[in-house]
Amino acid sequence: MLDRLAAFAGAFKAPGELRWHVNLSTQVTMRKGVLLSNGQSRGGGVSARLYDGGIYGFAAAPSDDDDAIRTVIAKAAENAASVGGARRNAPARAASEPGEGLYDYRSERPASSAAQRVRILKGLDSLIREKYPDLVNVDISLSSHASEKSLATTEGVRTYSYVPRSVLSVRMAVEANGGLVDLHNTLGGFGEIQDQSFEPESLLAWLDDLHEELRRKAEGGQCEAGLHDVVLDSDLAGILAHEAIGHTCEADLVLAGSIAGDHVGGMVASEKITLGDYAGRGPDGKSSFAIHVDDEGTACRDVTIIENGVLRNFLHSRQTAAELGAEPAGNARAFAFSDEPLVRMRNTAILAGKDKLADMIGAIDRGYYLKRATNGQADLTSEFMFGVSCGYEIRNGKIGRAIRDTTISGVAFDMLKSVTHVGDEFKWSGAGGWCGKKQPIAVGMGGPAIKCKITIGGRG
């Protein structure tokens, strides 16, 4: 496929990219032993994008024969021309280091069969409902997603990648005072289902932990609304890095007016905070997501966003880099064959410090230890929020009763200045995340535990 794309890349009349892109996924979900979904999907095709007169023209079709490739190239040119060079004064896209190479992370093991996938769920469901008879509901899902791409650009980039990820999710619900209480957790990450340890007998301790945390949550109480001293465990530090800082520092949003544009070179965080968006599989090579060349053909390299508390860099496409005088580092990504590349994060993380988790908890008289997040959102003001599904009160330096679901928020560039401790143990969040911004996209998020002040919602 790559050779065929390369042959056609010469047909462009303006700089651009030709991409063959297929997304493959499997999904099995079970609720109380009933299979609600059981199948797989394949969606793919070709797209062409070119940059002409400050305008991107883009076209995509769900096939990859020569006629389809010729058609999308012609339509992309026609689309760009249709608005009559509305931005003739726009700068040329920034030059970037061309990416290269084949990055095939396909498993060497035989692919999991439908029978194996269903067997995992049936085994887990039986085990959970037999072991924990107090549960009102059990939801289990096993999913995989792989993105396979070939990219040829008019500037000579030729690259291929196959990047898989798979996730097991278990949600349990129990009756409690004040209504039902539920809690979920995920396992997995980089690789295909056959690369993971999802066999029920290997998950006993993990399931016991989830059930015990649910039991404590059912006995727990509402948070007291307001500003509190908290310890955010690594799962929340990862989503903090992504939502609160990462989005605010995406250059397309900086051009739209993000507050980050006013703070380059300034202290926006405690000097203990160094935060970046990392290429490959991140600094430790263990993130749930891998990327080496972006969808504009730029070689991916690490971007240090905050260095010892100082805001240093933004995340760029070639277009935003030209507008802001920066050098692109491979952040232009597309989710599907029919999607254009957008400025996106990759593996975004706070780097580890030197503090111990026990010391952080011990330093708080009255506050919260927050362990797991649900969803999150960011804003151009750097105001962020994320849902918290699992956490505990801290009283006199010790873990107390569990809390019910809540939401935390803050203004990142204020909140990060309140960080007093950064943990010495780095972890990637759960089994990886999905980010929504016109298109969904797979991302990695990680960090150590941190101690800071944050606003908590609640009725207590």
Binding site: K32, V34, N38, G45, L180, V181, A225, A256, E383, G458
Partner: protein, 435 residues
């Protein structure tokens, strides 16, 4: 296979069913959606992307010995079709038998057509220019980003092994605007509208409350927290109500009833909301692009009064859960409408002792009990009947069941987004706090 490649969309999905039966399925269904999409993306400086895509996605579900398997594919290559059928059959073979696994028996509708034949791109471009001209003239502090003027056109065909056949074509224009205000170092939150209709957005300001939102966004440059934590009123705006309804209608679904996790269990025929609140699902509304004539099982959709004057009339039970729960099927596609009331927004504000105009909820996913907590974005503090100031870093916490019961006013004004329409709704008993 050449014949299959060139077949009409309804013949192609019928052929997928036939191929699955030939491979040993006891029953099968297929839905094929052929879509064409065109968009112009723009910001204050004009268009920056013109994008057109085509796609065709077929979802095949097969049944064997009471078990179900599924596969979807796009395109029609011989290899992909064969792989999808094989994958669906393998999934069914591996599945769990269930009496609810079956294809539907339902009447086949005449093919239908909704919306225009083709996009009027000149009108779309004129709408963008009108939008940007007005922003330049009246809202100089507003910055727009990733705004879209779009046209989507899809043929959807359905076939199953009981002889059910459906087909509809639905085309609509879309308009999405994302914007914020910036004045020096002062920056507001992002605000946005997203709406669709059958005619071009020649003047986007005439739709979806856009002018009100742009005025409010500019006013949000000067923000303050609430003076102190209090339990008060919220006047939920139409755009906020659209997002808050999601968890509520999920809790009314057959899936939630089966899980046993919804607080609305056993509440059919009972009051679950204020008598001022009525919610209906109108997938067959001929004026609304957001509907559908039939669902993913080929069953014709129907309009339903879900909550009438506060009383829960019915749940949203789709084909599978109607069989699983032995309840009538009531849902399959959604297009929600909350009935307008008789009070003006101005009067609702004037009657508010202490509360907020709640314009956007940015919060964690509500739990099974429907407790919620999140940030009130683009929102305003109200005291003694007057809007006092825009809010920053303000959290709103409550419970959706209580919120529905505590509704005490619904506005006469309502906003139609094309995929639902909503008024302003005032309710009490929400905890509002700042840091």
């Amino acid at each position: 296979m050449t014949a299959l490649h060139d077949a009409a969309v309804e013949d192609f999905c019928g052929e997928l069913v036939a191929l699955a039966l030939a491979k040993g399925a006891s029953a099968a269904q297929a839905q094929t959606r052929r879509s064409r999409y065109f968009e112009m993306q723009f910001d204050n400086r004009g268009p920056d992307l013109v994008r057109s895509t085509e796609n065709e996605v077929s979802a095949l579900t097969v049944f064997r010995d009471g078990k179900r398997g599924a596969a979807s594919l796009n395109g029609r290559s011989k290899e992909d079709v064969a792989a999808a059928i094989e994958a669906a059959m393998a999934s069914a073979e591996a599945g769990v038998p269930d009496d609810a696994n079956d294809v539907a028996d339902a009447p086949s509708l005449p093919p239908s057509r909704h919306g225009p034949e083709s996009a009027d791109r000149a009108q779309m471009a004129a709408g963008i220019e009108a939008f940007l001209s007005r922003i330049r003239a009246e809202f100089p502090l507003l910055r727009t980003r990733d705004c879209l003027s779009s046209f989507s056109d899809a043929d959807v065909a359905f076939a199953n092994s009981h002889g059910l056949r459906q087909k509809e074509r639905r085309a609509a224009y879309g308009f999405t605007a994302m914007f914020m205000a910036k004045d020096g170092a002062r920056t507001t939150s992002l605000n946005y509208v997203d709406s669709s209709r059958f005619t071009p957005f020649v003047d986007p300001f005439q739709s979806a409350g856009l002018e009100r939102l742009m005025i409010e966004t500019t006013q949000s440059l000067d923000r303050k927290p609430v003076p102190q934590k209090f339990d008060g009123d919220v006047i939920v705006t139409p755009e906020c109500l659209a997002s808050l309804l999601g968890p509520i209608v999920n809790a009314l679904s057959g899936a939630a009833l089966f899980a046993g996790t919804t607080p609305f269990r056993g509440k059919k025929g009972q009051a679950i909301a204020s008598p001022l609140f009525s919610l209906s699902n109108r997938p067959r509304d001929p004026q609304s692009p957001g509907g559908a004539d039939f669902d993913d099982h080929g069953v014709p959709t129907r309009d339903l009064d879900l909550v009438a004057k506060g009383v829960l009339n019915d749940y949203l039970v789709d084909f599978f859960f109607s069989k699983k729960l032995r309840l009538p099927q009531t849902a399959g596609a959604s297009n929600f409408h909350v009935a307008a009331g008789d009070m003006s927004l101005e009067d609702m504000i004037a009657r508010t002792k202490r509360g907020i105009l709640f314009s956007r909820f940015s919060g964690g996913a509500p739990n099974a009990a429907l407790d919620f907590a999140g940030i009130a974005k683009n929102s305003f503090y109200i005291e003694d009947g007057q809007v006092r100031h825009a809010l920053e870093e303000t959290m709103v916490s409550g419970n959706f069941c209580e919120l529905l019961r505590n509704i005490h006013a619904v506005s006469a004004e309502s906003v139609d987004y094309g995929s639902g329409s909503y008024p302003f709704v005032a309710a009490s008993g929400v905890t509002i706090s700042s840091k």
